[in-house]
Every structure is written in C-alpha cells, then in structure tokens.
Symmetry: C2
Subunit: 233 residues, 2 copies
DNA sequence: CGAGAAATTGAAAAGATTCAACTCTCGTGG
DNA sequence: CCACGAGAGTTGAATCTTTTCAATTTCTCG
C-alpha cells in the first residue's frame, strides 16, 4: 500500500484546522479506493464498516423504499465526507451511495471514529457542522415540497446542483456529471414527464440547454426567477 | 436558584450511561424554565445561546419561509434534547420552538457544550445519535412527500404522533396535546381542507374520533392499512 | 449500424387545491 | 350565567396542476 500524502487532504473542509503532522496521523489508517461509474460504494442497510471522503468525482446517494421506489437524497461533491453513519451512532448505512462518475475516495474503518474525533477535535467539529447543514438542507427540502409547485422545485434543484458542481462552459454553467430527467424527477418528487416538459419549455425560453444526460444553465438569473415566483398555498 | 436534583434527568435518553455524580455535574450549570402554552421558547434566526431538554410538556418546532409560510418540522416529547444548534456548529436556531402545552425545560448555555460533551462523552454520543435519527426522519419525510399521496402522508403523520405521544383512553389512543387540522396540514404538506375531508371520512369509517383540537385513533390497525395502501408512482 | 436507453409530446384522468358559504364550539366578558 | 364572537371545522363545486397512459423520436455507444 502506497503511503498517502497529507497534501491530498490539506485544505479540504473536513480537515480544516489540522496541522500538517495531524493530517498525516489522520491519513495513516485511511485507504484510497477507486470506483467506476455507476458502481455502488456502499449499500443501504449494510453494516457501516467505513466512512469516506470523496477525493474526486461525484457520488449519488439514493434511498429505496420497501416498495422499491427510489429517491435521490443528495449528491456528494469533491472534498465532502459521506457514509458517516457511525458518527451518528448508527451501525448500518441508511442509504446507498453510487459513483455518478469514476471516483476516488478515502475510506477509514468506522471503528476508528471515536479515537479520531477525540484526538482531533477539529475533525469532529467539522464533521458535525456538515451534519448540521445536511439536516437543515433536508428540512429545506421538506419545506419546498410542502409549499412549492413542481416548476419551482425543479428550478431550485437545478440551481443547487449548479452551485455545488457547476462548471463554466461557453454556453453557460454545466452540471458536471451525467444526469437524466429521471434523476431530476427523483430529486424533486415529480415524474420524468413533467420534468421533461419543463426543461423543454425552458429550453425554448433560452434558460437552459440540455441533451442526453447533460444539462447546462445558460441563464441562471431567469431560472432563479422561475424558482422564486408564485410561492403560495 | 433551587438546586436541581439528579433524579430529574436520570433515565432520560440524553443522559443514558452517566453515573449519578456525573448527572449532578451536568445538571449544575442548567436552569429550569417554564413556558406557558403557545409561548415561544426560542425563535428562528435568533442567536442560539442555550440548548434544552424537555422535562414536561410538548414542543412544536416550526420553520417559516421568507414568504411567511409555516411548516411544522417536528414535535418534541418529554426527555428529548432540542435547540442543539451549537452541537452542529451553528450560531443561530434554524427554526422556532413553541410550547404546545405548558412546558418545563432545562436550559444550558450553549457555550458549555464543548466542555460538557468532552467531559461526558456519553452525552455527546447520545446527542449525536438523536441527530442521526432526526436526519433519517427528515429524509423519510422527503421520501414520503415524493412518493405518497396526501391520504398516506396524513395517515403516517398521525401514526407517528400516536407512537411518540399517544395516551390510551377508553376510545383508543389520543394524541396528547391540542392539534388542529391546520397543524396536521403543515406537517404533511396538504391543505386543512383536504385534511378535514380525510378525517371526516375516517371518522365515518370508525378509524378516528376527533373534535376541536383533539384527535383519537380508535383503530390504529386500519389506519396503518390506509398508510400503506396504494404506494405507486 | 443497430438497439436500447433517454427524451419528447399529446390527450385523458385524477387528486388536491381553491373559493365560498356555513356550522359548531368554547372561552370570555358583560 | 348566558350570550356572543372568534377560532376551528365542515363541505360542495369549480378549477388546476400534475400524473398517467401511450405513442413516437432521438441519441449514443458498443
């Protein structure tokens, strides 16, 4: 096993506030893993033997209902921790994580969490801060689903994706990984048909440009207007 | 200030695993407060100066959108921690907490969290376990809102309330605090009209019994059937 | 180049909301 | 102690958003 270098993780949010030698100590028990596009990194209900930091790529976190319906919980971007069930006192992963593109991750054995988070309090604090924002995000989503129409929800979802993973191109900001209408539907609680109709309409208005598994926002400002307008109920 | 007794909190989930003398140390910096029905305990956006444990009563946690729409995030029951923004690295409360009935709470200054959670690791672990289940719960709610119809969502919400706060009566299990159709609507992302129609129908079928601000489930089993049936999309 | 996945689009149907009017209940103050 | 008024709940009818069903087209990758 090649020794991992502290520069790999220096500057990533979870490790903010750690010294170089601390980074090395944190890194020592970690292993680096690669996952091909569409391969699962861990499965819902499986025992949470590891927790992860995403070094490169994008990960889709999906929860499946007993009836087999899927909902996309979130996308993980570079530098984020995920699979941290153990930090929240759970022994099993509550969702499945799938590499949306080819990915490189660091994995730590869950059993080390108590020791690591005590020895490096900043690591614990950073992680729990992340948990806090995810909890808020989840509530925000509940609120959106309660109070907004599909059009607003889809607009908000696209804007969030663009903010997290947008990549500038000549025609606007492109979402950095393959994403289907079905995926967007699973993020917003809509059907792929409705999403498709919306995107077609927006394409006509020159707000987005999209093709097979690709979405580019050409006019984020006007998309924001779509996201804000008509909040009632 | 009267000295608080360890027996007040012994056996409550957040303090599981602490010895009697540890309980006393934890309790020392806490103060006990009373809130009348419908009085706010803390307000959304306000600085999170305290975190709380509910000793008696029920608390409604509400988030308000910039447009003024309200959504009920959850109800807190006896023995639960709440207002723990500080444990998640936030300086402001993300929601408003309102006493649903007359309440007694313990309050600790947020500034003590780092010290308390380090000195009493069990306290930290218990709290983060709670956070973990709330995160899961929030995701469950997102999933319900994505995949279920209003009827299933309302049934699920009632069942959850009954499980958390149910009190056996002659006619079934009653929800232990005043709750309006509007409240149920704000928990499920429906309108009070739809909720009212559903409850009327269920009352006709002998599944629930309800009056002004009161709901009793007379036949939980048949309500479960309503909650489960017809999951599609 | 061919095949399967992804996307589009029309038409019909359904669920839930909106609008509106009305009733009931309970607490309060004269 | 009773009447009154506001908050809570009910219910019909019309409307609308979104889904469902179905058929077709487009894309891309092996």
């Amino acid at each position: 096993m090649p020794k991992l270098d502290a520069s790999l993780i220096a500057g990533l949010p979870p490790f903010e506030g750690l010294e170089k030698d601390e980074l090395e100590q944190v890194l020592a028990p970690a292993r680096s893993l690669r996952f091909e596009r569409e391969k699962p990194i861990f499965e819902q209900e499986a025992e949470a033997h590891f927790f992860f930091v995403l070094l490169d790529g994008h990960v889709r976190v999906v929860r499946t209902t007993p009836e087999g319906q899927q909902v996309i919980v979130r996308y993980i971007s570079e530098g984020e921790v995920f699979g941290i069930a153990t930090a929240l006192g759970r022994t099993a992963y509550p969702a499945t994580a799938i590499a949306a593109v080819d990915c490189v991750v660091l994995a730590w054995p869950s059993a080390l969490w108590p020791e690591l988070s005590t020895r490096f309090p900043a690591l614990g604090a950073n992680t729990y801060r992340t948990v806090g924002s995810r909890l808020q995000e989840a509530h925000t989503r509940v609120i959106e689903m309660s109070t907004e129409q599909v059009e607003q929800r889809v607009a908000h979802a696209l804007l969030r994706l663009v903010r997290q993973t947008g990549r500038k191109t000549g025609e606007g900001i492109e979402i950095d990984f393959p994403i289907t209408r079905q995926d967007i539907a699973e993020m917003t609680g809509a059907t792929l048909h409705t999403v498709s109709r919306l995107m077609s309409a927006w394409e006509g208005e020159g707000i987005v440009k999209s093709g097979r598994k690709r979405v580019t926002i050409s006019d984020p400002h006007r998309l924001m207007l779509k996201a804000e307008s008509r909040e009632q109920r």
